[in-house]
């Protein structure tokens, strides 16, 4: 345990923030001790991010005060937050891809030599800083093409360069690989030891248990509880967060039917690299969830895109009920009886500017119930969208609201709802629970199992091993575009899968 003093560095008192009718923060108070790691936890839409935006000057509270070192301060914009020693590592990185590491870090506080930007001394400052905090980085490397973990390191150094005493991490592990998560948590501990005070906003409770000193729980815009990590458990925190006990999904045993989706020797190569997909042969039967486990970047995205017609493969067969849909268009593939929950809800799954109702029929708008002779049947669409958000408890003010204004979890629920309710015999679910909170995860899992128990074939691609292990009736491991192992439920451990995922031979 770190020797954290009990002097309070930051207090936020009675913060109120409303968006229209929605009260995002309802009299929320927060205090942070020097050298402490405070986890702010809660489900999506609980108001954590809003509270942090208020602290960082990106939102202006309707009421409430902020005290730094017991002195009242005003924060109207990010520049003032930075000037007050408050730094934020945002969930969506704020980086300039074509610029170098140094240029990104010194941004806004650039050293000058006469009229000119003194890049040389900047590079030197950054390499010293990176050594001091043991965060190795090449100052002159460009951000372009950097892995996510390194990008985040740039963000952290940026905050340190700005001399922040308080560092806010907003959902920092959502996009990281397990190794990167481990490294990040260690970095946080080191920073706290160096006297920085840290707030981590998250809903991943095992990370909270590992790294935090104290947890502040938010639910529906209210601050509902405070717990010292030493005196609490994951179960208690999750109960406080969700407001109810989560019941583990029961997965009923059913015998799989005939194979609905069968892929034979699918190959894809790209110029100047190893084969992306190397003779992939898999099958998914009716009433079966088949998981594809792999470290991301080993071909699973390409596999799904080739199956779905988003990418053209080189050779192979993709049989849907015996009919070959190899290299057909997305529309033809969809019409053959396939639905897909894409891996990125805003890049593939929806259009940010479209309304909730529009998102609810995207990809299906040509079906006779939604349109006739090119004209949309607005009433049916509205009814359908209304039904979906009710049935899948999507938190939305109205079906006319922009998809981008939904929280991540709610947007994901909407997309899941859309793809499941098309009642296709095949569903491909890619990272169906990425970046959403435990309540929503549970919900999505239940729907997938339900779909499978109704006799559909579900292909699940996920970088969360626990998810694969929990849901899949059968598991394929993919490594460098090849299938590196196949297991039935219960015949493999997480450790064994982990080893196969990084390329070790069959056990």
């Amino acid at each position: 345990m770190r020797n954290q003093s009990n002097d309070v560095i930051l207090r936020m008192e009675n913060i109120v923030k409303c968006y229209g009718n929605l009260i995002a923060n309802d009299n929320v108070s927060l205090h942070l001790n020097r050298g402490e790691i405070l986890a702010v936890i809660g489900e999506n839409g609980a108001g954590k991010t809003t509270l942090m935006k208020v602290l960082y000057g990106l939102e202006h509270p309707d009421n409430g005060d902020i005290y730094l070192n017991e002195k009242k301060i005003q924060i109207h914009n990010a520049a003032q937050a930075i000037a007050n020693g408050i730094g934020m590592v945002q969930q969506h990185f704020m980086l300039f891809d074509p610029f170098t590491v140094t240029e990104n870090i010194v941004y806004g506080k650039e050293p000058k030599k006469g009229l000119f930007f003194d890049l040389k001394s900047a590079n030197q400052t950054i390499s010293e800083l990176s050594r001091k905090f043991d965060l190795p980085l090449n100052p002159t490397a460009k951000i372009q093409g950097m892995p996510v973990g390194l990008r985040q390191r740039v963000e952290i150094l940026k905050v340190l360069y700005q001399n922040a005493d308080i560092i806010v991490f907003d959902e920092p592990t959502a996009v990281l690989t397990p190794q990167e998560v481990h490294e990040l948590l260690n970095t946080m501990k080191r920073l706290a030891e160096a006297g920085k005070s840290i707030i981590i906003v998250t809903h991943k409770l095992n990370e909270v248990m590992e790294v935090a000193d104290r947890a502040m729980v938010m639910r529906l815009g209210k601050h509902v509880a405070d717990r010292n990590i030493a005196d609490t458990s994951i179960e208690e925190l999750s109960f406080l967060m969700v407001g109810r006990h989560l019941i583990e999904t029961e997965i009923p045993k059913i015998a799989p039917g005939k194979d609905i989706l069968r892929i034979n020797n699918l190959c894809l190569t790209r110029e100047g690299s190893v084969p992306v997909l190397d003779h992939i042969s898999i099958h998914v039967d009716a009433g079966e969830i088949v998981g594809i486990a792999g470290v991301s970047g080993n071909g699973q995205s390409d596999l799904v895109q080739c199956i779905f017609g988003l990418q053209k493969a080189d050779s192979g067969q993709i049989l849907v009920n015996g009919k070959d849909v190899f290299n057909r268009t997305v529309k033809e593939v969809r019409n053959s009886g396939m639905a897909m929950i894409p891996e990125d809800r805003f890049i593939w799954g929806s259009a940010a500017q479209a309304s909730v109702a529009e998102t609810a029929i995207m990809g299906h708008y040509e079906k006779p119930s939604f349109s006739r002779k090119g004209f949309l049947n607005v009433r049916t669409i509205r009814e359908f969208a209304g039904k979906l958000i009710k049935e899948f408890s999507v938190k939305a003010d109205s079906i006319a609201q922009k998809t981008s204004s939904l929280s991540g979890g709610n947007a994901q629920k909407l997309i899941v709802a859309r793809e499941i309710r098309q009642n296709t015999p095949i569903l491909m679910a890619c990272e169906p629970t990425r970046g959403i909170d435990i309540g929503a995860i549970q919900f999505v899992h239940d729907r997938l199992v339900e779909k499978r128990s109704e006799g559909a074939a579900v292909l699940l691609v996920s970088s969360e091993l626990s998810e694969i292990l929990k849901l899949s009736d059968r598991i394929y491991v993919i490594y460098e575009g090849k299938i590196n192992g196949e297991f039935k439920r219960g015949n493999v451990s997480e450790e064994e899968l982990g080893l196969l995922m990084v390329g070790s031979k069959k056990l």
């Binding site: 990106l58 914009n77 990010a78 520049a79 003032q80 930075i82 945002q90 990185f93 704020m94 980086l95 300039f96 891809d97 074509p98 610029f99 240029e103 941004y107 806004g108 650039e110 000058k112 009229l115 000119f116 930007f117 110029e271």
Partner: protein, 302 residues
Amino acid sequence: MNINANYLAVVFNSTIRMMTPILFVGLGSALCNRVFIFNIGLEGTMLTGAFAAIVANYYTGSIFISLLAAMISAMIVSWIAGIFMVKFKGAMLVVGVSINMLISGLTTFLMQIIFGVKGAYVSTDLVPLHKTDVSMLKQWPILQTMFGSLTYLDFFAFILAIILYFFLFRTVTGFRMRSVGINKIAAQSLGINADRLQIGTVAFSGLLSGIGGCLLTMGGVTMFAQNITAGRGYIAMAAATLGAAHPLGVVAGSAFFGFAQSMANMLQNSSISSQLTMALPYLATILALAIYNFSQIRRHAQ
């Protein structure tokens, strides 16, 4: 038509005179591109400058005041356009086209009111831009032809390109400008007033286009004709695109279009019909942009 050294020198000289108005506007366009503003209004602000120069000259007889009027008027028009585009988030294309149509109509109208003429106004009372003295080159007649009858502004255009190069890539302000074009949200989250930077850039690009307009009316022949810019603002945008929004690249892009324009002028004396030769710069624009975009698409595909 015999092609000899002297002929090439004439072509070179004419290319320079044709390219520099485009270069000024092109540099402005490049700066706008760098802050992610598609400023199609440069055609209109260039026309503003051209007209203001003539009017100021008519009343004061001072070329200095003429240039100043061109710069300031074009900057103000552009600044207003910038406010509409950035602060009120107007569609850039719509704002730009509105500016162009407004200025085109307004200058035609004001020309009739002020000068009492339709179509074109020419007067010997107007004071043109000073020409540089090339008498020290008299031992080398070829050089004299190449650099003769150019104004100070023609030379300044090239110097400006170099200054802007250092500004964009070596100064902090230039660095921040480029950053806003790459990721405005990130720049704002780091406490930069991105809106102000964008509006300022648009206003400055207007100022540059004003210089270009002034050079057009007060450079070679001192005259103003209805819509005298004749699409040079658009061509300058094309030059900026071809030059990848790099100040020195814009010089190359402008030179290409200046050359096309000067060839068009030269060929007017030949047997090719003038309708065809006058279309040459525009055909060159379309061709160049098509080739450029095609190569970009291919590069992306790889």
